[in-house]
Symmetry: C2
Amino acid sequence: VSSGRTPRARTSVRRLPEKQVADRAALDRLLDAALVAHVAVVDGTQPFVVPLAFARDRDRLLVHGSTASRTFRALAAGVPSCATVTVVDGLVVARSQFESSMRYRSAMVLGTFSTLHSGEKERALAVLAARLLPGLDGARTPSAKELKATSVLELPLEEWSLKVSGGHPEDDDGDLDRPVWAGTIPLHHTWGEPEPAPDLAPGIDVPPAVATWPEGRA
Amino acid sequence: VSSGRTPRARTSVRRLPEKQVADRAALDRLLDAALVAHVAVVDGTQPFVVPLAFARDRDRLLVHGSTASRTFRALAAGVPSCATVTVVDGLVVARSQFESSMRYRSAMVLGTFSTLHSGEKERALAVLAARLLPGLDGARTPSAKELKATSVLELPLEEWSLKVSGGHPEDDDGDLDRPVWAGTIPLHHTWGEPEPAPDLAPGIDVPPAVATWPEGRA
């Protein structure tokens, strides 16, 4: 089941359909690796694309932001939206410019966001914290005032498509004899050395959860 | 001049305005570092957000794709669009979940794409190749047939905004005494060891242009 319930045609991949992946586990791997979704909000005929930190929670995407934000107000109003999540994994250098491309994984989720309310909202924020700040359970949970200022929305993972381009250059036979290098240059996304906050109290070491932060996030 | 000619309000940053950057040089640095823009196309009321490899060429963004692609046909028809370019630079771990955030740079460009035709089109494709495959001038340039199958579009850099969040956690005074680590975990985007194509002829070494591929792309 590559693209959820209805209507399939909107999320079917017409160009380069060989790159379409119908594997829900592959979708989840991408969504669990990525930190940011690019979410569309349309105002009249003008679309806006906004980067939002997100987390997958089973069969939905969760995002959070300020209740005062235009984006969150528009999304909460239930306008049709699209959340696209992309990770670039490398450059594919072919013997022709035309066949040169990228290694990437990209998921598109269509649907309508809806607002989570008391109870559900706190649980969703805990999931967001667990996904975006894994292992860091020392951080203070939101106060009543902070909760009130925060909008938490969910987008169901029903209508989606996934494209994965992970291969090598595919040159025309006529180009194979060109005396130029061809191959892939992988792009890695890796965590660097943690930088303590300037106002960190002395004697607090980098916790194991930070030192062993999962690689592969991007 | 942070957001171009008219109307400024659409690209002004209302939330967290302290993160808005009006510096064109900072915009160019982000656009020249990033490989992919997330571009919106609206069909009726439904937006679609599509990741597109892009290049900045002076005061415009260039993208290319198949003339048969729905996205490129819609963009070429001149519908209002938005291209958003985001690089995540790290996770900001505060003493509260509420203040935890990300280091990121994100640019939003509003406008209408237009199609480049003969002459302009070839020059734009050369710019795209130079930006996305720098130093690799051995690759064959497009044939007449390939050119015909390729749509090249430009989006003027007129109406834009830039948000840069590069700092440290900013905890409430009341949270500073919590005995938990706070700081930033940088996210680096680095090129890995080049992988030769399986069908690469023997005796062709990795060229210096690949070995010295510019870091900082993401």
